[in-house]
Structure formats: structure tokens, C-alpha cells
């Protein structure tokens, strides 16, 4: 996964970005941390919403819906959770992304 992510970063990185300036590096790191924080918050929100929905607290709670509707909503919640955790894991490899950026910095013979 790490190598895949590094390759993906290399493939999508703009050629005109090199050499990477310290400012660009700082901006990249800042963006990386911000993205990680946002996905983390989304994950916590999703977890809390799912738990609250499962508790018999509102008319739309899982236990008050027909079984088929509850399973549909539950399935949707599971898909959301799976997507979010995948997104988080892909974005939590700063080392690989950094190595890819540094590789981009090197002058090429092209």
C-alpha cells in the first residue's frame, strides 16, 4: 500500500513543481496534516452518528424502523465507514509521500 501510494503520488505530481521549495514543502505538510485531521474528525462523527442511530433515542432509530429499512441504513453506514477508513489509511503514509516528493526534487536527464 505504501509503495502504491508513493507511485501514485509520483504519477500525479506536476512536473513543473521541481525543485520543491521549503515553502512548498511546508505547504504540502500543512495540507497533509489538515487532511488527516479532517478525515479523522469525519470518522469520529460517523462513529458517533452510527452509535446514536443504533440507540433507541429518536423515531428514526434503528430499533424503531422496519427491519429492511434498518438493514439498508445500516449497510449504507457500513459502506461510509469502510470508505472513510480506506481514505484515512491511504492518507496516513507521509513517509512514502515525502520520499516521492524528494525523488521528484532530483534533476532528471530528460
Amino acid at each position: 500500500m505504501t509503495q502504491l501510494f508513493a507511485l501514485a503520488t509520483l504519477a500525479f505530481a506536476g512536473r513543473e513543481q521541481r525543485p520543491l521549495s521549503p515553502d512548498a514543502m511546508t505547504a504540502w505538510l500543512r495540507r497533509l496534516c489538515r487532511r488527516e485531521r479532517r478525515i479523522r474528525r469525519l470518522l469520529w462523527s460517523w462513529a458517533m452518528l452510527t452509535l446514536i442511530w443504533l440507540m433507541p433515542l429518536s423515531p428514526l432509530a434503528a430499533s424503531r424502523l422496519p427491519a429492511s429499512a434498518a438493514i439498508a441504513v445500516g449497510g449504507f453506514s457500513l459502506v461510509c465507514g469502510a470508505l472513510l477508513i480506506t481514505l484515512y489509511r491511504v492518507n496516513s503514509h507521509p513517509r512514502a509521500a515525502y520520499a516521492a516528493l524528494r525523488a521528484e526534487e532530483r534533476p532528471t536527464t530528460r
Partner: protein
């Protein structure tokens, strides 16, 4: 020692025998009616309990919690007692095997789960005789949750008591205060989720998903933070020579700071965060142009302002770019003086965080030990004399005392006879101070 080991082994085998015998006995005494629903719930809960072991949650100060209690409660509420015990024991066995724990430990864990689930299910059935998988009596689940906690804790504490040779009943509650809180929360979650899972057993997956996903997220986050710290250190290493520091300066100071922090009885986590602060304390220079770093062409006032703003600038950079909040807290005060005449806040004495006090003293000592622009490097005794002279005004006397003892120990370990000189310098400084 071997007798203690033998009694522990006997105790563990006894628990395993009680767990397995109880499980087999309950199946024989009251065979549960097996339906598609009860089998589905059993299999689901077994798998989810096993998965809970793979993704433990980290709560509070790095305490790892396996959130299987909520699933145990669901098993008690939705399944006949033998099946709930089997689901719990099976899940624990699979989870322990996944974690590659020794078979002996895995068996003990599974057996104590089976025993505690069996007793908790008995409590639930005694308080709610009409309850079955379809009709729940939520109020009766609360004492069942308490029984679950008491039995499983006592089973584990028994093993610990045999290992240590004593059982402390007096401090039992305070020792378990944190785990009791977490257990109560998990019991409450289990009770709240039971009606939804009773409606559709597949919702057990949805019920377990938040805890599992958050556990995986925490594992990924730990790796993210570790890798980010590595990048920060790598960047700090590249920027150090540009900031006029000799290579490995921050590494040397970090090693000294670590030793002094341990002498000052700082926790491992605080000590790690402090050494990281030392390593990255010039990190913000990465975005500064070379002429600003070399301070060429700057007026005296500008130079002074640059130095005054340095702690805030590096703290802001560490927080904004790397999210290192604890490190930033140390960096923010690392130019303060013990007498309150430092910068930028003018804090005095113990108002300055201990980490910052250690940092500033060790950095000054390391600077004295390194060759300056117009002077050679000072020997350890001379540098310590100067450090003692500044204790109470520039630096914290307690930190300087810890620094002295660390330096003396290092000199003694080197065995060059320098330890006697260092000890002499220390005594002379203390005598002068008196």
C-alpha cells in the same frame, strides 16, 4: 519461585477446567434450541468479538481497551446462556490466536470469558425469567454487566495475586477505577444497542463497526505521527547547518536532555516529547531565507526582535505544520529565564514548564562545551561551574543539580578521572553558593 510458578499454572488450569466444564455442562443440562437466527447471532458475535481483539481502542493515557464488553452484553441479551458463553469464549480464543498469544494464555482468557459470561447470563435470566432473544429486559442487563466485570476481573486478579504472592483488597477499587469507568461505558453502549440488534441480527456488524474502525484509525494515526516525526527530524537535520549550528548539535543536546529529564523523574512520554522539541527547535528556519538566517545586513533591533520571536515562531510552525502541540508547549518557553527576565513572556521559577527549564539549561551547557567563535570548548568541570553560577537566575537550580549528577555519572562511566574533577567543581559551586 518455582512453587509460585507451579501454583500459578495450577490456578490457570483450574480456570480452564471450570470454563470448559461449565460450558459443556450447560450445553448438556439445558440444550439450547438452535435456530437460524440464534446460529447467525452466535457466529456474528464470535467473529466480531475476535475482530475487537485485532483493533483495540486507545483511551486516556495510552491505555488499550478491547471493546468486547458491549458485544458480551449483546450475547447475554440475545442468546441462550450456553450459546452466549460459547460465542464469548470462541471470540476470545480466535482473537488471542490472531494476536499470536501463547495457547496457554489464550485458553485461560477464553475460559475466564466463558465463566464470566455464564455467571452474567445466569444473573440476567434470574432477574428476567421471561426474557429471550426477542423480548429484552434492559434493566436486568445492568447487574449482568456488573457481574461480568467482577468475575472477569477477579479471575485475572487471582492470577496476578498468585504471581505477586499477595492480594490487595484495600486498593482494589482505586486500582480498577479507570477500567471500571470504561467497562461501565461499554455496558451502557451494549444495553443501548441491544434493541436494534434484536430487531435484525445483522445490525450487530453495524454496532461493532464504530469501535473497530476507530481502533484501526488509531493504529494508522500512530504510524502517521511516527512518520511525521521522522520527516520533522530529517528536515531539522538539513536546516541545522544553515542556522549556523554544528551538525549533530541537536542530537547531542537531546541525549543530554533525555538523561536529565529521567533524573528529574519525567514520564517517558514527556521525556520523548521534550527530546523531540530539542531536535526540531530550529525547524521553522526551513522557510527562512539564508540572509535572514545568517542575520546579515540586519540592524541590532531587528536581530533582537528575530531572537525574541524565535520561540513563538518555532512553536507556531511545529503546531501548524506537524501538529506537535506538546512539543510546541516546550518550545514556546525555551528562552525564559528562571528569574523572570527571559523572553518572550517573562515567566519566572516553576511557572516555566519543567521541559523548557531542562531544555534551556542543557542547551546552555552544551553551548559551553562546544567551541565558540572566540573561545575553545570548555572542559566539563569549568562548564558546570558556570552552570552552577547561573543557577537561580538563568536556570532552575534543581535542573542544574540533575545536570551535574548526569555529567558526573557520564564522567565516571568514561573512567578518565574526569569525574573527580566534575565532583570537585560541583562541590566548589555548592560551597560558593552557600
Amino acid at each position: 519461585m518455582s512453587r509460585m510458578r507451579r501454583s500459578l499454572r495450577t490456578y490457570v488450569w483450574a480456570v480452564i477446567a471450570i470454563g470448559a466444564g461449565g460450558l459443556a455442562g450447560s450445553f448438556a443440562a439445558a440444550p439450547p434450541r438452535l435456530s437460524t437466527r440464534s446460529l447467525t447471532v452466535t457466529l456474528l458475535l464470535t467473529s466480531l468479538i475476535a475482530l475487537a481483539y485485532a483493533a483495540p481502542l486507545t483511551v486516556g493515557a495510552k491505555r488499550r481497551v478491547i471493546p468486547d464488553t458491549a458485544l458480551h452484553l449483546l450475547a447475554i441479551a440475545l442468546l441462550p446462556p450456553p450459546l452466549s458463553a460459547a460465542a464469548g469464549a470462541g471470540g476470545a480464543m480466535l482473537g488471542n490466536t490472531y494476536l499470536r498469544r501463547p495457547a496457554f494464555n489464550a485458553l485461560f482468557n477464553a475460559a475466564q470469558v466463558a465463566v464470566s459470561l455464564r455467571i452474567a447470563a445466569a444473573v440476567y435470566r434470574a432477574l428476567a425469567p421471561s426474557a429471550n432473544g426477542d423480548s429484552l429486559v434492559l434493566a436486568a442487563l445492568l447487574p449482568a454487566g456488573l457481574a461480568l466485570y467482577l468475575v472477569s476481573t477477579l479471575a485475572v486478579d487471582g492470577a496476578t495475586a498468585i504471581q505477586r504472592g499477595r492480594f490487595q483488597l484495600r486498593g482494589w477499587l482505586s486500582a480498577h477505577a479507570a477500567s471500571l469507568e470504561t467497562h461501565a461505558l461499554l455496558v451502557a453502549i451494549g444495553i443501548a444497542l441491544a434493541p436494534a440488534v434484536a430487531l435484525a441480527p445483522w445490525l450487530a456488524c453495524v454496532a461493532a463497526a464504530p469501535a473497530l474502525v476507530l481502533g484501526w484509525m488509531q493504529q494508522a494515526r500512530l504510524r502517521f505521527e511516527t512518520e511525521l516525526v521522522e520527516i520533522a527530524e530529517e528536515l531539522a537535520d538539513t536546516v541545522e547547518p544553515r542556522a549556523g549550528q554544528r551538525p549533530d548539535h541537536s542530537r547531542d543536546v537531546a541525549a543530554l536532555v533525555d538523561a536529565v529529564a529521567r533524573r528529574c523523574k519525567m514520564s517517558d512520554a514527556d521525556s520523548r516529547s521534550l527530546t523531540l522539541a530539542v531536535r526540531v527547535h530550529h525547524l521553522h528556519n526551513v522557510v527562512r531565507p539564508d540572509d535572514l538566517l545568517a542575520e546579515t545586513g540586519l540592524q541590532r533591533g531587528e536581530r533582537r526582535a528575530l531572537r525574541r520571536d524565535h520561540p513563538e515562531a518555532v512553536a507556531a510552525y511545529a503546531t501548524a505544520v506537524f501538529g506537535l502541540r506538546r512539543v510546541a508547549e516546550t518550545l514556546r518557553f525555551h528562552h525564559e529565564r528562571f528569574d523572570g527576565r527571559g523572553e518572550p513572556f517573562g515567566l519566572a521559577g516553576k511557572d516555566i514548564p519543567l521541559g523548557s527549564r531542562i531544555f534551556v539549561a542543557c542547551e546552555a551547557y552544551a553551548a559551553l562545551r562546544a567551541p565558540g567563535e572566540h573561545r575553545p570548548a570548555l572542559a566539563a568541570p569549568r562548564a558546570l561551574l558556570i552552570a552552577h553560577a547561573g543557577a537561580g537566575t538563568l536556570w532552575d537550580p534543581d535542573v542544574i543539580a540533575a545536570l551535574s549528577s548526569v555529567v558526573q555519572d557520564e564522567a565516571a562511566a568514561a573512567g578518565t578521572g574526569a569525574d573527580r574533577a566534575v565532583a570537585g567543581a560541583r562541590t566548589a559551586a555548592q560551597g560558593g553558593g552557600a
